[in-house]
């Protein structure tokens, strides 16, 4: 049986967060936590690429995306780094459903919902894309 959902859902931005200012102290704290000693990042002026994943949506994804079958789990993230995040940047995050697809594997049929969050700075420049992948069993 084909998946039942509104196709207009795909690509429609369901949330854009308020801007969050990047503080040098937060970058330094992030570097300390990860053991990052590269002075390019450790002094807090430029964030290491992985810092992009610290930004969060304002609400839970599943208020906006359909649920399929039984409860699933986080099936991983793909992060595309576009440009550096600097201390003082103001980052907004907007999210949309990028893709919904089914596949079969050893353990049965699975449905994947991919939510793409785009991070942008105060100049409207994209700094990163994060694809959050969620899997449900049907």
């Amino acid at each position: 049986m084909a998946l039942n959902y509104d196709p207009n859902l795909i690509g429609r931005v369901f949330e854009t967060t308020d801007a969050v200012e990047v503080k040098a102290e937060r970058i330094q704290s992030f570097c300390e936590t990860l053991g990052e000693t590269n002075p390019l990042y450790a002094d807090g002026k430029v964030a290491p690429p992985a810092y992009a994943v610290t930004f969060r949506n304002g609400r839970h994804f599943f208020q906006h995306v359909p649920r399929f079958g039984r409860a699933g789990f986080d099936a991983g993230k793909d992060v595309e780094f576009v440009r550096s995040i600097h201390a003082g940047d103001k980052i907004t995050l907007s999210s949309h459903v990028k893709e919904i697809y089914e596949k079969t594997g050893r353990t049965g049929t699975m449905v994947f919902v991919v939510v793409r969050s785009t991070l942008s700075n105060q100049d409207g420049q994209e700094v990163a894309h994060i694809d959050h992948r969620f899997m449900s069993r049907t």
């Binding site: 079969t104 594997g105 050893r106």
Partner: protein, 227 residues
């Protein structure tokens, strides 16, 4: 001239692989003594990457890159070789509920060949479906060696070959660069294109080869049958 191809590979075009084609080819060049491949066939999940052009990489690394697809049916996963516009119009490759018999029959009519892969795998292999329903007709070959197989899966695949007289192929099913070429197929004839590949697959003159480390090599299908 014999040709050895990895008939089952996934590049980053598949959603569950992170392997760039260039990295695959570089790995093959570096590991040619262990895995002597002449080429690979990209079999991306539920799609056919019709616009991809790997000629510059083929020239750079001296390794052939052909394109096919892995689709999902009511009898498990099937590799489709010789994909063309007629097939893409006829079947929605993203549909995970394709009718296997219809696919096998129609693909041949359209000039290709459909080969069930990892048939010994639970849920998505022929073996389990054959225990519940009649066997498919007009199957020419199945994938007997799969680089991602767990214990017992290749053995169940070999049992199908023995029982139904299918020809046997091998492929790595690689999703990671270092896994490319772990299993492959050695063809007696020369292959330089997808048309050559389909012709040779229909001929039956080939054998699966196992380049996995720390396992006994399986030189040809007969050896698989007698194990």
């Amino acid at each position: 001239m014999a040709t050895t191809l990895d008939l089952h590979t996934h590049s980053e075009a598949s959603e569950d692989s992170r392997a760039p084609v260039e990295a695959y080819l570089n790995w093959i060049r570096l590991r040619h003594a262990e895995r002597p491949l002449d080429g690979i066939v990209l079999t991306e999940h539920r799609q056919f990457n019709r616009d991809a052009d790997y000629r510059h990489l083929e020239d750079k690394f001296g390794v052939m890159v052909l394109r096919a697809s892995e689709v999902e049916t009511n009898y498990g996963h099937v590799l489709v070789y010789g994909v063309n516009e007629d097939m893409l119009r006829r079947f929605d490759f993203a549909n995970i509920r394709l009718d296997a018999q219809e696919l096998i029959d129609e693909v041949v009519k359209m000039g290709g060949l459909a080969v069930p892969c990892h048939p010994g795998r639970p849920n998505i292999g022929l073996y389990e479906h054959y225990e519940k329903r009649p066997p498919l007709e007009n199957v020419v070959a199945v994938e007997v060696l799969n680089g991602g197989s767990r214990k017992g899966e290749d053995e169940r695949s070999a049992e199908l070959v023995r029982r139904y007289g299918y020809s046997a192929v091998g492929g790595s099913d690689s999703h990671l660069v270092s896994l490319i070429g772990l299993c492959a197929t050695r063809f007696a004839g020369a292959i330089r294109s997808v048309d050559d590949l389909v012709r040779e697959l229909k001929s039956g003159d080939y054998e699966p080869v196992d380049f996995r480390p720390r396992r006994k090599p399986v030189p040809h299908a007969e050896a698989v049958q007698t194990r």
